[in-house]
Symmetry: C2
DNA sequence: TCTTGTCAACTAACATGTTAGTCGACAAGA
DNA sequence: TCTTGTCGACTAACATGTTAGTTGACAAGA
């Protein structure tokens, strides 16, 4: 356990976020953890965080409690808090849960979609195509996320998106390690198109199959990371 | 909004639970809300709760924050906290999310189950049968829950059960209004048996279909409540 | 070199003090 | 009767004080 570094003050300004102080601190810390600015195993010290952000211990304590609940930090009572290591078990589970939710969503959307909803998905698909044509990988990444969010949004269940995000936070963090490539983007677009076609045809089973294939591409790429970057998966 | 009653001190002793003070208070309050001892619309006052439970405001505040996050209470900032009303939208969503998770689980279990796991499910099924033979409806209710928990447990994903519980808390609360009947218990057992048979035959699709049918029985019965007990679904 | 015991520094958890904002009762006026 | 404005009681959110428990460094002894 030589890796007991202390976190520095590489935190965004708190006012970049909105809500209560606790909410702001929570978002700032989560951002830092998910973007890997805070690395697995690093110790989170409350006092420096309070000082840096200019708030008292209460909102920081509440924020850390939420992060612990999400599994992004490990709290050792009466001792300390550290950024959670990657865990393949957690990531596999998160992937499974997310897939379960998205499969149910896409089936419902394929069945129940309105024409207006379809038009919005269509627009997103054309945007994806456009961004790939321009080689804007980062933009495509965002459109990709928007595509999945649209599917969940159109179920009409407002909490769905938040739940899906919650269960797959570890997956989201792990994805940060996968550098996006043009080749993979093209493949992704094709997989999205298969889902899109099934939705157009109001084919729930086809949409599920296409989505299952799409999401199935992710885990093998993350599994490979466990061997490339073993230090991030340490202990646990 | 004439229904601004104040909550009384009908709370379990805190030491019936374990964990930190905040955890104990959280569990005690959640218990009271889910069991409908605290009724929708009632105002939660911190001071009496602190006094009754013999703790300071900190753990109570943390407990209420968690309940708000789960949607069991509505916090009006700088004003007050009240027990959330039932909302058909919330309940439909919870049911959808739970079904999504359970469908994925049962398919995986039907595919991957070990003989030992099957034996445990088999034992639970025989227990259910036994309890119905004896007319022990309450016991059957618990075995029913254990049946579903086993399915989630055997996926090998430890958070699954907690997530499923989290997303369907409103459904759980609503179920408290459905008085269990011997007739429904017998039907339930038959539906469980269909799932069980598909698991025995390692038939994921069959298991999903059987589970879908089983879970599909619940929502219509809850929908009926919205007309029988409209006061609980008020406003929102 | 390897234990073992002590102790200081640090922490989470809890208690308590403070503040700004909301709500409802009630009175004054129309 | 109905509106309107004031004021006090209450609240969530935040700041700060307190406590008990853990950890790790280090020295004393084997």
């Amino acid at each position: 356990m030589t890796n007991t570094d202390i976190d520095a003050d590489r935190l965004q300004d708190i006012n970049a976020f909105e809500g209560s102080l606790a909410q702001k601190v929570y978002l700032a810390l989560q951002e830092a953890i998910l973007s890997l600015q805070f690395r697995p195993g690093e110790v989170l010290r409350k006092a420096p965080i309070c000082e840096k952000l200019g708030v008292s211990r209460s909102p920081v304590a509440e924020a850390i409690a939420r992060l612990a609940n999400e599994g992004l930090v490990d709290v050792i009572p009466q001792s300390g808090t550290r950024v959670a290591y990657f865990s393949m078990e957690d990531i596999r589970e998160g992937s499974f849960l997310r897939q379960a939710l998205e499969l149910a969503s896409v089936a419902k959307v394929a069945s129940d979609r309105t024409e207006d909803q379809f038009a919005q998905i269509n627009r997103n698909m054309r945007l994806q195509t456009l961004l790939i044509e321009d080689g804007d990988i980062l933009g495509f990444y965002q459109a990709d996320e928007a595509f999945h969010e649209l599917l969940m949004l159109f179920t009409g269940y407002p909490r769905l998106k938040a739940v899906a995000r919650l269960v797959s936070l570890q997956v989201t963090r792990a994805r940060m390690l996968l550098l996006p490539t043009p080749g993979r983007a093209v493949e992704t677009l094709e997989e999205h198109r298969a889902i899109f076609d099934a939705i157009q045809n109001r084919d729930p089973d086809g949409a599920q199959a296409a989505l299952r294939h799409h999401l199935g591409q992710l885990m093998p790429r993350i599994e490979a990371l466990a061997k490339t970057r073993p230090e991030l998966f340490q202990s646990r």
